[in-house]
């Protein structure tokens, strides 16, 4: 079976959902997630020739999504304004965005601080190892482990309180 040629168009077909989920995990609202999604794939166009395999493409997309999200949060406005309390911004413009009542665990994860959200998502959903997460987030493995431990505790408390 011949492997699909690595192009930007084929990459978006393959990894659109992954990038979108990660963007939603990282961003506070859907509009920002959409912007992040577009920015990541537009950047991919100029770097696609440097990427040799699909694993490489996947890692690059995760890394760039994390960096763009960090850049977004680094801006003053985004640091100091929270849209989570604005229901009109969170109301789904498309049918694919989750409704918190139907997804209680995901809603609890969204309440975690961004660094814990990222680790939980990468570990449990993307099924990356601690070493891979450490490489992508440029942290020590021990740091990732301790953050994972704290994230689990916080999640447990959040869900218990809600129940």
């Amino acid at each position: 079976m011949t492997e699909e040629k690595i192009t930007a168009q084929s990459a978006i077909d393959r990894y659109a959902d992954m990038v979108y989920r990660l963007a939603l995990t990282q961003m506070k609202n859907r509009t920002d997630a959409d912007d992040l999604f577009q920015e990541v794939f537009v950047r991919l166009v100029s770097h696609i020739q440097e990427l040799e395999s699909w694993e490489h493409v996947k890692a690059w997309l995760i890394r760039v999504t994390i960096n763009c999200a960090k850049k977004h949060y680094g801006q003053y406005w985004n640091k100091n304004v929270d849209y989570m309390d604005e229901p009109e911004r969170l109301s789904g413009q498309t049918e694919s965005y989750e409704i918190p009542e139907e997804h209680p665990v995901r809603a609890a994860v969204q309440k975690l601080p961004p660094k814990y959200r990222l680790i939980v998502h990468l570990y449990y959903y993307e099924e990356l190892s601690v070493a891979e997460i450490a490489g992508l987030t440029k942290q020590r493995e021990s740091t990732v482990k301790s953050q994972m431990h704290r994230a689990r505790e916080m999640l447990r408390n959040l869900i218990t309180d809600e129940l």
Binding site: A16, D34, V45
Partner: protein
């Protein structure tokens, strides 16, 4: 719990509209990148091929501009090459000069050459056969103090010059050579005596010689200078210290006025008296035998006046007159 998270998350999909919009943006980005590459390639081709330039329909003005650019570019290239080339040339010159200097400094032949050069400078063509050692001996045996006198006498006649050499203790064998030299003008003699000196004659003695040559211009001056041995010695000391620039001897008044560049030792002397005479401040030092030396500054020029006088007031009066003449005060 986290299985449920996975289930919930897997239900999230990227909106088709967003994917479509993103694909369009990606296409636009690809086109932009291709256009950039094409323009880069075109500009390269335009820069290299004139035929391509005409095919692209570039106007003549553009061609002129590109020609200017090319010329600037070539000039830049030239400059790039010019710098190392200049450095290399400078290095070659430096090496050749240093090698030449080494050759001149080392070896006995080089000393003979230097002696020849000294003789040539002195203008003594008759002394070409004389070894450098003899020349040096002649100048060493003649004391520095006597040199001006010798040069002064040289102007008068060769016979007088021979006598002067005899007074200076020059050997009899060297006298003819000296007399041959004595036929030259006084200035050339001075140069010869100064340049052939191997260390016994200093800059001060050269300046002494200059002063003496000025004295020799008048016979009266010459006679007076001859008679005043002690006074001349004190003058020489003063002149030596103050780097004389211009010296005028007024023998009738028995005073010498000298313009100096720096403050002389008279100024700093503990024996110097600060006297204001006719609104000019003199620093006067009285010496033995009724001789006086004074320093004064007039019109931003420094002067040293020295000579004999009956008393200090007379000395100051004469010194003031001399200053007036000298500085148009």
């Amino acid at each position: 719990m986290l299985d449920q998270y996975n289930r919930e998350t897997s239900q999230i999909h990227a909106p088709a509209a967003l994917i479509q919009k993103t694909k369009e943006a990606m296409r636009a980005e690809e086109e932009r990148l291709q256009a950039e590459e094409t323009s880069r390639g075109d500009s390269y081709a335009i820069g290299n091929s004139s035929a391509h330039r005409y095919a692209a329909g570039i106007s003549k003005d553009c061609e002129v501009i590109s020609a200017k650019k090319r010329s600037i570019f070539s000039y830049g290239r030239l400059r790039k090459w010019a710098l190392p080339l200049t450095a290399a040339a400078a290095l070659v010159i430096l090496v050749s000069v240093s090698a030449a200097m080494r050759v001149v400094k080392s070896g006995g032949a080089s000393s003979d050459m230097a002696a020849d050069m000294t003789e040539a400078d002195a203008g003594a063509s008759a002394d070409e056969a004389l070894p450098a050692e003899e020349m040096a001996d002649a100048s060493v045996e003649a004391p520095a103090e006597e040199m001006p006198d010798v040069s002064v006498e040289a102007e008068v006649s060769a016979e007088e010059m021979a006598d002067a050499s005899a007074e200076a203790g020059a050997p009899v064998e060297e006298m003819p050579d000296v007399s041959v030299e004595a036929g030259a003008p006084a200035e050339e003699m001075l140069d010869a005596s100064a340049e052939t000196a191997s260390g016994g004659i200093t800059e001060a003695s050269e300046s002494d010689a200059m002063a003496a040559s000025e004295k020799a211009e008048s016979k009266d001056n010459f006679a007076i200078t001859k008679n005043e041995g002690a006074a001349q010695a004190s003058e020489d000391t003063l002149i030596e210290e103050s780097k004389m620039e211009n010296s005028v001897v007024k023998p009738d008044e028995e005073l010498t006025i000298t313009e100096v560049e720096k403050k002389p030792s008279v100024y700093n002397s503990s024996e110097a008296e600060r006297i204001s005479y006719q609104e000019v401040i003199f620093y006067v030092v009285s010496e033995e035998d009724g001789a006086y030396s004074a320093y004064a500054r007039v019109n931003r020029s420094r002067y040293v006046i020295s000579g004999k006088a009956a008393d200090r007031e007379e000395f100051l009066e004469k010194a003031y007159e001399l200053l007036e003449e000298e500085s148009f005060y």
